[in-house]
Every structure is written in C-alpha cells, then in structure tokens.
Symmetry: C2
Subunit: 323 residues, 2 copies
C-alpha cells in the first residue's frame, strides 16, 4: 500500500508538504499542491481513515445496546437513532444482549478502548453505577428515568402514564384492573409497579397478584396471557398491556377463547404500532423515533442532559364502560 | 494519554521490550516483563485498540445493509448475523438505506476505507456490478440468488418456492391466483414474476395485471390490498402473499370487509412469524436466522462461496379446496 513517504518521493516534496496538502493546510504553494495531487492520482493513494481517526480520536461510530432486535418497540428506537446518526455522518454498532451482562459489557469495553465514540443503552441489566463508571471514557446515554449526573438520559415518565391510564379505566367503572410487563425489575417496570400499587391504595382497591402478568413481550405471550385468564375465577375486567404486540396476541386469542373485547375485557396497549390501528386497539403512543433521535443527539453532545418525552393517549375501541 | 515510550521510561527498559511484552513475545526476561507489567499498572496504560487494528488491518466490524429496520423479515436476518458475529468476536455496523443509492454507497465507502472488514447486503438497489467493484477491498456478501464470482451469496430459491406454492393452489382447484410483493424490481421479485408467468403459461391460465399487487410490506399494506380486492369484479380466489405481516393485515381487514378466509379467499404467507401461527396462517417458513448466520460466516471466510437454504411449507387453515 502506498504511504505518505512514497507520495513525497513521487511528488519530489517533503513529507510535511504532503501532510499539509492532505489536511488542506493553506501554507503550500500551488505548484507543490499540484505535484502532490498528481502523485496521489499516479499512485492510486488511499488515505487510511482509521489512521485519521487515530489522530483525531474519533471513530464516528456509536454503540447501541438493546436486548432484542426482533421487537417493534426497540426497532422504532433504533430507527430514530439511525436517522439522526445518518444526518450527522455517524454509524451505529449494534449490541443485541438478551439482557446478558457480558454482552452489555462488550459495548462498554469498546467505549473504553475508543472503538466507539459513545454508547446508547435502550435497556440494560447492569447496575447504573457500572455504566456510570464508564462515562469517563465517553458519553453513556440511557433511555430511562434515572437520577444520574454522569449518564445522559431521554425518558418517558412511565409512572405518570400508568397512573393516568389506570385512572381512566377506574373512571370507566373498572375495579378489577391488571397489567402486563416483560421484566419485573428494570427502571420502567419498577416505576409501573410503584404507580400501580399507589393507585390501588388511593382508590381503596386490594392487591391481587393474579392481576400482574410478567414475561409479556411478543404476540404469543398475549396468547399465553389469555390462557392464564381462563383459569381465574374472578379475572380482571381491564388490563394495561405494555406492548401492542402482546395486546394484538390477546385480541386474536380472545376470539377463539370466547372472551369478548371490550365487553368482557378492556385493553389498553402501548406504542401505537400499525397493528394497533388495524385491530382498533386503544393504546398509548410513545414517541419512540423521537426518543431515538434525542438519544443520538445526547450521545454527540458535550454535556450531560436529561429529557422527558410526552406520550399520547389514543382512544379506539378496546375499552368501554364497565357497568 | 500514556504511550509506549512513557511505559519504557517508567519500566527502565527499551521500547522494543515493551512492545514484546504487549504482544506476548517469548524472548523477554521475567524481570523485564515484570517491570513492564508494573509500569502498565502504575501509569494506568491502556492500549489503543484502534492502533492495534491499524497494524493488523482488521477492525472486527462487519457492515450490514438493509432497507428497513422495522420489519420482522430483515430483523430475523440481522438476528442471525448478530448471533454468529458474537460467537466470532465481531460487531455489526448497521446501514438502514430505504433503498437509497447514496446510503448503500456509504457502506461500500467504509469497506474501501478499511473501516469495516466486510459488508453484507440483505437487499440492495445498486447494480450488481457496482457491488462487485468493491469486492477487491473486502468480502461483499449478498442475500440473493445472483450469478457472480466476486461476491459471496446465501439465498433461497424463490423461483422454485413460488412455483411449488402456485402448483399447490392450482391442485386445490384455484384458477384465479394472484400474488403480492414489495418491489417490482430486485432479484427476488424478478424471480417470482418469472415463476408466476411460467406457471400461467404451463397451466393455460391468462395473465391478469389486477392479480399482481406491489408495494406490500407491512400489515397496513394488507388492509389496502383488501380494499383493492373489493373493487374487482372477478377477484382472485387465492393470493400468495410474500410477507406474513401483509397476510396478517389482510386477515384482520377481511373480517371487517365481509370477505371469508379461506372460503372466499385463500392465503399463503411467507416467513412463519409468530403472528402467522396466532392467525392460523398457512405460510412458507424461510430459515432467516440461519441465512443470517451463513451470511456472517461468508463475510469472514477466505473464499467466494454460494449457498442455497431450504424453505418449509407450513400448512395451517387459510387455504382450502376451491370447488
């Protein structure tokens, strides 16, 4: 491969001159600049971009950590990140972790080794303090509402969203209200759990562990949820389902199970995916693409910042008043 | 930042000795090795991995080009790629292109600039010869059945799959058979078009342009397709739908439109996504995760190779005999 010394020899100038031409330095005579440019053409010289990155300390790569690739929720966030990255001339390196510690760690190690400029966690299993420890190597950005002065965050206030949705179902006459989530831990799940328990207390309702459904992420989990409902003597009359995918699975399975939606069971989904509109699912729209854009923006920013994004309640046909 | 010279000074040894210790070279005395290791600890020296990559010429990054992130078809391929990449200590850099030329080009430019070691095209809009021209910089891998001795390929024989599925519908008594695709061009779409036209000729059926539906990729496109059907005086009695997402949208919308599936309209989907099983959709399972694993394997291999992957017909409840 042709290097800068070969170019200098070919052009009959010094290495310094070649370097100045390559870096668009102004103090080069037109004659020398022309000689170098001709040498570049003659030798088919290609600059090694990694060497340039080594000198500038930037890779223009941003790590994106997420547990599952095959879910619209995460894909919509990644879509927003990718769009914003493209506009800034950055590329994303993907880490699908399945919530495994070591796989999250490999993203942090790449940040430490300067192989990526920043890392965005769409969700995580590591403790916050572990991520904070790596923030000295480069921006660490989180999609969750946590208190930190080391990591940047963009988040949805899941506690308020949950409280409002539960209140809406209560106002429609529902008293046996359940909810579904994927993980029991995790910032969002904990915020939802707390909001749910506060809601029960303030509305003088008792807690029933049968009304809390975990492990719900995909459409087939909605099918399993419907099967669980069939075993309950006093099933919930309304469920907050934190994924449109799961709600879609429930609607499809409920038909076969003879459960009428919304008469027997009211549903509120989350995300407002295309399937929600097709199935007339009442849902809470999360601005996931904008969240992704914000996360990327924070990954490139100089300062730690925290941003809340608003959700929108979309009323369709899966909730009606419970008499 | 501490560099190798600082380490040598701190340890009281030569730069060559430090380099030997860092590269696990055997000809270093234990005393000197210990001195260097102590200097590494004392100075908190971290090796710049990008400099190592510069000397080895490898980045351990593989580019993955795909048109849309938010579709299960592509996500399943990416899932397979990511799984195989993890096992080999590689990471993937994602390029979502929306089939825009310049966005595909940016992946090729990164290959040229040695910022990625190889590039996998899940789908493309550029001409084959453009991609072939970049194969001299590193492996270019395609998920399609094209004749090339420069690019590596893993593919599904869409022509045969289509011919078999059309034959199955014919044997069930269907004579007005249509199909849906996303693009009219593209290797897969052209193979399907050719197979469809050959099928019509060999079965003495006439071609009806109203039975070919394009622009169909997402569930909402299935809704639009059902609306198109309502305007036809002699609609098809069976449709090969090259995406389970579209077929799912059709099943949901058909209910509201009073079209009975399979009595009025038989459907065969593609991919065998979870929604297909939930909706009892007869479909053709494509081994997309294995395809992804194969693509990654080829990206790391030394030689150009071509691999065909088999599909599986999954009979459920959306096709019945047409009397």
């Amino acid at each position: 491969m042709v290097n800068i010394k070969d170019l200098a020899k070919q052009a009959g100038v010094s290495v310094t001159t070649v370097s100045r031409v390559l870096n668009n330095h102004p103090y080069v005579s037109d004659a020398k600049r022309q000689a170098v440019n001709e040498a570049i053409k003659a030798t088919n010289y290609r600059r090694n971009i990694n060497a340039v990155h080594l000198s500038t300390g930037q890779t223009h790569l941003i790590g994106v950590v997420l547990p599952f690739l095959d879910h619209p929720y995460f894909m919509n966030v990644v879509k927003g990140i990718t769009q914003a990255a493209k506009a800034k001339g950055k590329h994303i390196v993907l880490f699908e972790t399945g919530y495994q510690h070591e796989k999250e760690k490999s993203a942090l190690t790449m940040l430490e080794n300067k192989q990526i400029d920043a890392v965005i966690f769409c969700s995580r299993s590591h403790q916050l303090k572990t991520l904070e420890a790596y923030a000295s190597y480069g921006p660490v950005v989180l999609f969750e509402d946590v208190k930190t002065n080391k990591c940047r965050t963009t988040f949805i206030n899941h506690s308020r969203v949950f409280t409002e949705a539960l209140g809406y179902l209560y106002d429609q006459g529902h008293r046996r209200i359940g909810y579904s989530v994927y993980r029991q831990t995790g910032t969002n799940s904990l915020a939802r759990k707390k909001a749910y328990q506060s809601f029960l207390v303030s509305h003088h309702l008792s807690y029933n562990p049968d009304y809390v459904f975990t492990g719900c992420l995909y459409a087939e989990d909605g099918n399993a949820l419907i099967n669980q409902l069939k075993c309950l003597t006093a099933p919930p009359t309304a469920i907050l389902v934190t994924s449109d995918q799961v709600a879609a699975g429930m609607i499809i399975s409920a038909r076969n199970a003879g459960i009428k939606i919304p008469q027997d069971l009211a549903l509120i989904g989350f995300n407002d995916e295309p399937i929600a509109s097709l199935l007339d699912l009442t849902t809470i729209k999360l601005p996931l693409e904008q969240v992704g854009q914000s996360l990327l923006d924070q990954a490139l920013g100089k300062q730690v910042s925290h941003r809340e994004m608003a959700s929108t309640f979309i009323q369709r046909k899966t909730v009606e008043a419970n008499e």
